[in-house]
Symmetry: C2
Subunit: 610 residues, 2 copies
């Protein structure tokens, strides 16, 4: 069966878990209502299901081709990109001053999830463009905004982020690309950037590169990095693509996955452009504050990559579920009769429900974060804005780290459900497995997310956000325990979910206290446990939202809803609480033994060095 | 750095954990001693490091090519196979009656691990041949043995297993390939087999297919399956490859990984051979007992696939470790100074030690099982033979299931350690990730292993083997607690390892009791938890052997050994006990909530069907 955007689950989460009504009631979104949101969800689903999802395998098997500095996009991507642009989808979340539609992130996110699920390789192009739009909206000069934002919002021009150099990946302090100021106020950029997603292609009239580089007198390290705008074609006086700038695609990479997306090596200042001697660049924001400015884009991109994790997990789940309903093999244990569809086998059910409950849980976390983002930006009360900003900042590394690591497990199970067929490329399960593998790496590895999480999101505010969240999670526990009394048929579900959540909250609090305690005296111990801590936090918060989902689903059933969606939701919630959430115990116990583990691990590492 | 066979770790395990001396003292191995074993390890290492390991990437990028029914092996594989055959390596573990060298499995296993690590795609060919040799040695007629075993042991002919058909994968009851008896005592085989590893290639003079098929009057289901030998070329009176049999390779698969290994679709009886009207086959063993006979081969193959998991994990670890020592990026947290090799970062240490400790633990489990195999076959005391046979049977699904699932995690971490470079195919980390993905699928998926484990290895003997193993694990706990008193510098290590092991044993016993309890009344609950139970058992037994490794390593240090190997071993043991073994708690708590999880999971599945 073809991919279907998970509109029903998204509607449920928006309505019951993440306060869509509250977001639509914010002054900025007065003109929107739930009917409009629903129309966006449905129109978006139509586009991605009908036009983009069918291209996914083609992008894998017929990837972009490099030739003499030009890159021809993957087969069929041109038409799809045109449909995407003409539908106005690039403008969905952006400011109406430049032609944007001004939807909240909470509405843009479900569309983006579906778009990524349809094709990660395709959706990367709009995703990077979104990031460039956000950065220029925030720190671009009025002239830069007027020149570059409208064509990007219209989907005529696309954007890229240029951070990585061969010697500077996670460690941007090491970057060496140079930007030399000219008399006319522009800069000349020279250097090499690698891993540039959609760094070169033929889908758009122009490509807007945002580039990190150093000016001649810049301080060492990250405090000497500035942000530059380097257009592939320099806009003329009418804003049309003009002379060819000196930025060139030297090659594209042969990658494990996301073949549909060209990953470019870009040479700035090879002397081959019409500009001579260096690519013309324009300073964006303030000199030496480039990293800070780029972080606007990075945060949006990190969130978006987390969403890619949810997306590819959803797609892998649907493919595996459909196969399990179709493939007949073996007798069902504990039952009479002949061969059955493999969905009748307990271990297939375990795998499918692990996939589905992780995906639903991570989606709820991502949408919760989107809601926090919207309230952080648009709530009339400054205290609420501050509160939600802290929450959003807290959730970004979780969405990025947890949802992408989760997607590795889900896409791997997707292969496993298919048995031998899963290993054959035609089936498609293998592509999801390959595609997903980049997600915990790009836009900051899971370790980078985890360090940010521990350093900036936990330690810096002494765990304040965690205390707020723990209190909210405990409130849900009370709701479950109270609901249990009148839950009737669902009493066992509520009891199991409450028990799982209670343990998980306790472990979460124990680990937060441990991390706060060790981080000042023995920071290496905190960092040894930072990825497990990030994952634990993801599991716990997803467990909390799945518990709330169970409460909401049971209430809907009680109120007479007969759609099978609600009982299925109860199933995934029970499964998550009983079969996935217990992982938290192992993670917590490992983290809290960090002192001795770190001592011996570091001794091991030093023995290799010496 | 190039791949190195892990000879030092293997020597350590053989000496301290799995009683090599006891195996060499068995009457069957009187002529062997540890010097000979060491020479085998070193010679084997020389071959795989120098000749085979360098071909691994080539097999991936220049896979076998099918053309008009013929398959040209991957580039360079012909010379390597010749070196392998001429070195006598195919004969290593086999019976001297047919030219074998008669080494115990405990000695053949380390060589095979290194061979698989060098190239999974290459080593599959000898691996399948080993299985055919074992099956014919056990149930072949004297004439079949005389005709087929010597050329296979010499590496001139290779072997295959033909089980799967499009509609019959895990469920062999569904297979339809027919075998019609002829007047001359032979059979004519017709049907299609898929996923046949090295089903066609040009490395050998002849290919010996073992094929499951049904005779015309055979009962339905698995009790109507017989085993047939179908040579590609029918041997003439002198035993030389003679007329071309009617078995043809219709195509080879485009797979996610192990590209070096041709995976064939075989047509039996397409009428194109010199034999006309069906492939000539010879009954092996008794009619209708084919599945039972094939299980001889399957058990050997399952063990071997588990070993592939250890092998690819070792290779992925070495690649990641070397990269981490080389790549400079970021400051070391908690320390002064500039950019450091990334091995100095706590999270890189966490990943590398997770990889290394899982690999070492799984290797110890695999070698323990090999020891049990040798004693099961060759111990003079029938009670001991029975005891070790039960242990070997118990460990085969663990080696297959646990070591292969573990290899997915290790190869994934191997990509992650490389950061963005890990996603680029040239680096090699991605190949290990792709190659490993077949291991939990072929020769019986992890679910098939887990069902075998629960049904035949736990429930059938009412948990007897588990009780024996629990008692042995508790004895190690006592050793640790006693050793702790005089452990000096290592007291903290012993304490942490003992604490981890004690929890793990208790969880193991709790889960065994739960599985025994539910398996009769609610078998679906037992099967829902069977894969987690299999994994839990693997973690616990690996934890036990790693605890014994810590005791042995500490003793060696105490006795004056100064090689850094011993302190590194202590590190991996401590890390395993504190950071990996705690996963057992989450698994145990999930399994023991199986009743409610199964109820809701099955309701979910039924809602999809209806």
């Amino acid at each position: 069966m073809a991919f279907k955007a998970p509109v029903q689950d998204i509607r449920f989460v928006l309505k019951h878990l993440v306060d869509l009504e509250g977001v639509l009631a914010l002054p900025a979104f007065q003109e929107l209502d739930t009917d409009i949101v629903d129309a966006v969800l449905q129109e978006g689903a139509r586009l991605v299901e009908g036009v983009i999802a069918p291209l996914n395998r083609q992008g894998d098997t017929h990837p972009p081709v490099w030739s003499d500095g030009n890159v021809k996009a993957a087969q069929g991507f041109d038409k799809a990109f045109k449909a995407f642009a003409e539908g106005g989808w690039q403008a969905l979340q952006h400011d109406s001053r430049w032609g944007g539609q001004g939807f909240p992130k909470l509405v843009g996110t479900p569309f983006n999830e579906a778009l990524h699920a349809a094709s990660l390789g395709f959706a990367l192009c709009p995703m990077l463009t979104d990031g460039v739009i956000e950065a220029l909206t925030a720190v671009g000069s009025p002239e830069q905004q007027d020149t570059y934002l409208p064509p990007m919002l219209q989907g005529r021009w696309t954007g890229t982020m240029n951070l990585t150099e061969p010697q500077a990946g996670s460690d941007l302090a090491l970057l060496t690309t140079r930007a030399v100021p000219q008399n006319d106020g522009t800069y000349r950029i020279t250097g090499q950037k690698i891993f540039i997603t959609y760094g070169e292609h033929d889908l758009a009239e122009n490509i807007v590169h945002l580039v990190l580089a150093r000016t001649p007198d810049a301080p060492q390290g990250v405090k000497g990095i500035s942000l530059f705008l380097v257009p592939k074609f320099i806009p003329d006086a009418q804003g049309r693509p003009g002379i060819r700038n000196d930025v060139w695609c030297a090659s594209i990479e042969h990658k494990l996955g996301i073949h549909g997306s060209p990953t470019a090596v870009l040479m700035f200042g090879a002397g081959k452009g019409e500009t001579q001697a260096g690519a013309v660049g324009y300073l964006v924001g303030q000199e030496n504050r480039g990293l800070e400015h780029m972080f606007i884009m990075m945060n949006a991109a990190r969130y978006a990559v987390g969403l890619q994790g949810v997306a590819v997990a959803e797609r892998a789940f649907q493919l595996a579920r459909d196969y399990a309903l179709d493939r007949v093999q073996g007798q069902a244990p504990g039952r009479q009769g002949g061969p059955v569809a493999i969905v009748q086998h307990p271990d297939i059910q375990r795998m499918l429900l692990t996939m589905s409950s992780l995906t639903e849980g991570a989606r709820a976390v991502a949408l919760y974060a989107a809601m926090a983002h919207d309230k952080a930006h648009h709530h009339p009360d400054p205290d609420q804005r501050a509160l939600f900003k802290a929450q959003y900042d807290y959730f970004v590394p979780i969405v990025k780290g947890f949802a992408t690591e989760m997607s590795l497990e889900v896409t791997s199970l997707g292969v496993q459900v298919h048995g031998g067929m899963g290993f054959i490329e035609e089936t498609g399960a293998a592509q999801h497995y390959r595609d997903a593998r980049i997600l915990p790496i790009y836009e900051g590895t899971t370790a980078i997310q985890a360090n940010d999480f521990v350093g900036r999101k936990i330690v810096r505010d002494a765990g304040q956000v965690t205390h707020q969240l723990a209190a909210r999670m405990r409130a849900t526990l009370t709701d479950l325990r109270e609901g249990q009394v009148r839950a009737g048929d669902h009493a066992d579900a509520f009891e199991a979910i409450a028990a799982g959540l209670e343990h998980a909250i306790a472990d979460y609090e124990r680990v937060v206290a441990f991390v706060l305690q060790v981080s000042s005296q023995t920071p290496r111990v905190a960092y040894l446990g930072s990825v497990p801590f990030l994952m634990l936090s993801g599991y716990v918060h997803a467990g909390w939202l799945m518990a709330r989902a169970a409460l909401a689903a049971a209430q809907c059933i009680e109120q007479g809803e007969t759609d099978v969606f609600y009982s299925r939701k109860l199933s995934t919630c029970v499964f998550y609480a009983t079969s996935v959430l217990p992982r938290v115990q192992g993670l917590a116990n490992a983290i809290c033994q960090g002192q001795i583990a770190e001592t011996w691990a570091d001794a091991w590492a030093q023995s290799l060095v010496s």
